[in-house]
Amino acid sequence: MAEYAIELKGITKRFPGVVANNNISFSVEKGEIHALAGENGAGKSTLMNILFGLLVPDEGEIVINGKVEKFSSPRDSNAAGIGMVHQHFMLIPKMSVMENVIIGQEPGSSLKIDRQKGIEEVQAISDRYELNLDVTKRVGDLSVPEQQRVEILKVLYRQADILIFDEPTAVLPPHLIDEFCDILLSLKQKGKTIIFISHKLAEVMKVSDHVTVIRRGEVIGTKAICDTSIDDITRMMVGHSVDTGRKARSDIRPGKEVLTIKDLHYTNIEGNEKLKGLDLTVHEGEIVGIAGVDGNGQEEMEKCILGLFKPDSGEILFEGRNVNDLNVRQRRDMGLGYVAEDRQKESLVLQYSVAYNLVLGQEERPEYSKKGFWLKRNAIQETAERLAKDYDIRLANVNVAAGTLSGGNQQKIVIAREANADPSLYVAIQPTRGLDIGAADSVQDTLIRLRDENKAVLLISMELDEVLAVSDRIAVIFDGRIVAVVDAATADKESIGYLMLGSRKGGEK
């Protein structure tokens, strides 16, 4: 019988109105990479927070290395050798890597911190595990993947031998995921036990030894990776199989140009030129997907289109008309639908009812208000109920606060609202980020439907697979320019990957 690092026995955790974890039991062998797969809201994070000591289970037992443990704070789990790499980094950008790592366990006397020793110790760990970090650098100056390695360093510094990774690849650009997988494997080689939470099954297949699937707070099963397949795990996760390939669409020809961007330049407040002569065209009846590594000008481009950022030079034409001097409202009234990247901050008022959120920004239109002043509550209610039904927004009624809904349903509100305004151009930024497979599928279907209705759709996504599955044409953005535009139906993932990194190898102009 294998030796177990972690045994979870009958863990149950209830929150008001939901059972997040229901009688969860599974075991993780010493020195293996054990994947925990499941859709968002399946209860993975709750379970890991219990294991990390942030939450206390209502029932059940945690056994670490054969010993029953009771964790009431991360300090306890830490003492048992458990460390967690959080999905949302727990870092302080202003401080150096070393400082971020030593917090709570600073070397030196009880009063004074020995910084020199800190630098040496932390650098030694970084070198030993080949994390390639300069520990004297400020964390705020590091890239996202580097920051993730700082998180790993933090855990290693605390001498954890059980490492929990909470959706580590969600924040990584596609070309760095392999590199990350190598880090996982090298940690395993050095004797660490790893729990790897993910719903990206390709990675799960690649690195894990076992996978445990959770659905709706319950364990569906644990399988050895050699005995299973992506389809198999997907079925376990969602309860039915989902098509992961290219989306079907009707055969229409793109019509006239809806969005034309010519030689757009933009310099941000820090003085960095983020857009360096960007050109882009989106036609009626097509989806143009922007592929690129985060931070290459996507945000600046999208905010210039919306009118939040004012470009230094260049033109943005909307159905042939220059919109440079128009404000956001005027552009929206011209038929610009916009699904912002951060739905909670930029797209919704969480305290408002779902119904109000479904007409937000359109409330002055005659359908919803008399003389632009008195709200027509009945009309809003009817529209909301219709949209909730059409877009499968799951809720008790449309008068509950939007903040009470799950992330997927919140996103459906935004998608529905923007589509309902009858836009001629629909801009969607990372519309499926953080959504589970079912919700992501429905969002992508909406984009395709809009395209089939002859709208112009611009999709910005960091997930190359999504761009490939949904787009008609793919524009690759790199360093503030569109470096290539390719036909999505014949596009080759690898050559796009190269283009995204600024290499022309294998790419076509």
């Binding site: 870092l91 917090i103 600073e106």
Partner: protein, 311 residues
Amino acid sequence: MFSFLSYMIPTTLRMGTPIAFTALGGVVSERSGVNNIGLEGIMTAGAFAAVLGSYYTGSPWIGILMAMLVGILISAIHSVLTITIGAKQAVSSMALVLLAEGLCGVGVEAFFGQSGSTAQVNNLPTSNIFASIPLVGGFLSHLSPFVYIGFIALIVVTLLFKFTRFGFHITAVGENPTMAETCGINVHRVRYISVLASGLLGGLGGAMLSIGQMNLFQEGMVAGRGYLALGAVTMGRWNPVASYCSAMIFGFFDALQLYLQTIPSNPIPSDFIQMIPYLAILIILAVTSRKMKYFGVTAGGKPYTKYASSH
């Protein structure tokens, strides 16, 4: 020129140090993530407590002690309200200001039987122990001991943040309390101690106004210096030395204003001259506040609930 300098240097220190004390307190509290606009009220209470202590014991040093204790006491109320209960920091602070001013007004009547100001008490205007030092003794002894306590406070707070474990924890808690908690730091404890320390320093600042610069307590004598101190914290970008210096800039303009008033047959009405420090501060803040978003305390002003109780 010499007479100008020999007036301005000690007067700047005299006018700036109360603000500097309070600003140092503001640095400690704000770096931990708790805004303490109530420092104005803490200064008021400190000023009154110092007079009270000196009045009943005859020793201004006991007055200083009283001021520090009262400062701690008042900030303890702020701590309980904002850290444990999670009340809005701005609201709690403003309530403290009103409470302190009201209580001190009543206190003046209750303890001294007169309204507006207290009786005169023993004070600490000069540091006579330095008098025997050759050359500079005269200059040094003409400064209040508060000025020297202010130097010590500056050094202590600077060392706290530069070298010590606790100072490091204060910064961590102010920047990312969730992270600090996951790293085993008791967020509430660190914030409590920081706010209490700010009360102690604010109390000292108040004491200097009443028994350092004068020898009595007057209603309204703090006159917004607690708010100026917070301005100094912002101007100093939450750095102890820079905040101390900013407070001294405020002191400088106060001194300048006093100097201008002493010039005989000055054609400018004194009301305008008295506006100088405030105008100067507005201008300085307007200039230095640009790009301020790159500084500041990330989790400043946000109550923190422990992870387990918030999920």
